[in-house]
Symmetry: C2
Subunit: 311 residues, 2 copies
């Protein structure tokens, strides 16, 4: 006998589709005011095919939303000049007044430090939120473009919040600001996801617990949480015993594993089927944070164009 999950599913794919619709409207509004919405992406041709495929998908998605897409392909002459060529292009786009949104496809060639290049992207054009000034602005509560994955998690929590409010749930009652006083435990403290999410949650006046693989008493901590963010990259790390009944669980983990049938599939950090019987809200992998992260990049592109126009 199978027990049905009791948790509500945080459907990242559906939510991303909603966001795209709303972004399309915002793009039209910018154009009607005489502005433009464009993404300038830098792609280094270095033998890695995945970035090129990603860029092609991106071009199509942008086209669907009415966002212009310009791909700047760089083919470095050799390893010794690669940094200069890539950094030079990024600086040029950063200072070009016709450019409002810049992103850098990874990976970069061997020997080129992505961080050194990313910090050259003008903060107000940095739609991936990877310039350290942008996470710093978030720490200090200033308007900023947030890292896309962390922003995706926040928007998913926002959706849960609005839904609970609409349904009369006291946790998200009228007059209760979003996340204020909620205890959020972030499992995993990586630079790309764990730490930026912790910072974003602090900004919302949540009680934030940042855990890593050295954390003692992890189970007690997560079991005390209203919100569990799993961002450790360890399949099956979060089990039902670690979750308070009714809690919100967002799974940021993405790991490719080979099943007993020999086929590869993508799994998250949460033992989904079992944990869904305890949690109140849960995001699946795939179909959770992933599609929302892609949508958040577009969100930042539109945001950058709007700010430029003074929206």
């Amino acid at each position: 006998m199978t027990t049905l999950p009791t948790a509500r599913i945080i459907d990242g794919a559906a939510l991303a589709a909603q966001y795209r619709l709303a972004l399309g409207d915002r793009v039209r509004a910018v154009r009607e005011r005489g502005g433009r919405v464009r993404l300038d992406a830098v792609l280094v041709e270095a033998g890695d095919n995945s970035a090129r495929v990603y860029a092609e998908n991106q071009a199509r998605t942008c086209g669907e939303l009415g966002i212009e897409y310009r791909l700047h392909r760089i083919t470095p002459d050799d390893e010794s000049t690669a940094y200069d060529e890539i950094a030079g292009r990024v600086l040029l786009l950063s200072s070009d007044e016709s450019v409002s949104a810049v992103m850098l496809h990874l990976p970069l060639p061997h020997g080129v430090d992505a961080y050194r290049v990313q910090r050259l992207i003008a903060p107000e054009k940095d739609v991936e939120g990877v310039n350290p000034a942008n996470i710093g602005n978030i720490v200090y509560g200033r308007s900023s473009l947030a890292p896309c994955t962390a922003l995706a998690v926040l928007k998913m929590l926002e959706w849960v919040w609005h839904t609970r409010r609409a349904e009369g749930d006291a946790v998200a009652g009228e007059g209760v600001p979003f996340l204020r006083g909620q205890r959020a435990v972030v499992v995993g403290a990586g630079d790309v996801v764990g730490k930026p999410i912790a910072v974003l949650l602090m900004r919302q006046e949540a009680t934030v617990v940042s855990c890593n693989k050295w954390t003692a008493g992890l189970e007690d901590l997560t079991r005390s949480a209203d919100i569990v963010i799993a961002a450790a990259g360890v399949p099956g790390l979060v089990t039902p015993e670690m979750v308070k009944p009714g809690a919100v669980v967002v799974d940021v983990g993405v790991t490719r594993i080979k099943g007993q049938d020999g086929k590869s599939r993508t799994v998250g950090d949460v033992a989904f089927a079992q944990t869904a019987r305890v949690a109140g809200w849960i995001s699946p992998v795939p179909g959770g944070v992933g599609p929302m992260t892609v949508a958040m990049l577009l969100h930042n592109v539109v945001e950058a164009a709007e700010r430029r126009l003074g929206a």
Copy 2:
């Protein structure tokens, strides 16, 4: 009968004196290598006398360490031009190749947003660590100048760590990296202290709990902590019942209160006398984080000069 405190005192004044001695040696070393150590401070003359007094003290302290001190006084013509004059000077110092360390005395005149000015300080010269890029670099684990108060707390914890190691305490045993796996609870999530400290502690692989005034179950959280950082600005907030026996307690609170005798005095967030009977290590107020914060500014000045020289 008075019970004697069992906690060891984290003597910020004594520790700051040690730091100053070591900094004097580092200044000499920079000079011997043909470099220079200088602090360029901007002071806006705007009727507030406290900044001027602070600047005079600073000039004297710098002199004692062999650090050149240049004070740039600005007297804005009127309110409408104040931002331009201050920001222009900061930009000039940021781009001046002979300048290695810039700080901006507060307060600024009414209507001038300090944050907007601080973000113009070149990150590598920003010895107060107030440019958002610097806290961002800390999030991402890159070399950076940290905000002085947060850095002061970290250095005090480092001193406790080294002392424990020297005394054979297993918590800080050989091969155990500083703070890794320690549970640190930060009470208070302000932008100047609480949030930056939380970020610095995450960087050290601690389990970090960021609390604010909306936090439920604060007492249980602090009682589970190996390290409690009190940074709420609420006198007497942290009491002995909230502290695990033997824990490290650092008090960042600074509040002026009037005693029953009518005299003003400075108190911290921790009920010191009582909590010292439970904690293992505790910092007093005054004489704790305060003097270390002043020393950390000088530390950053020397650090900026050394990095410039390629130390």
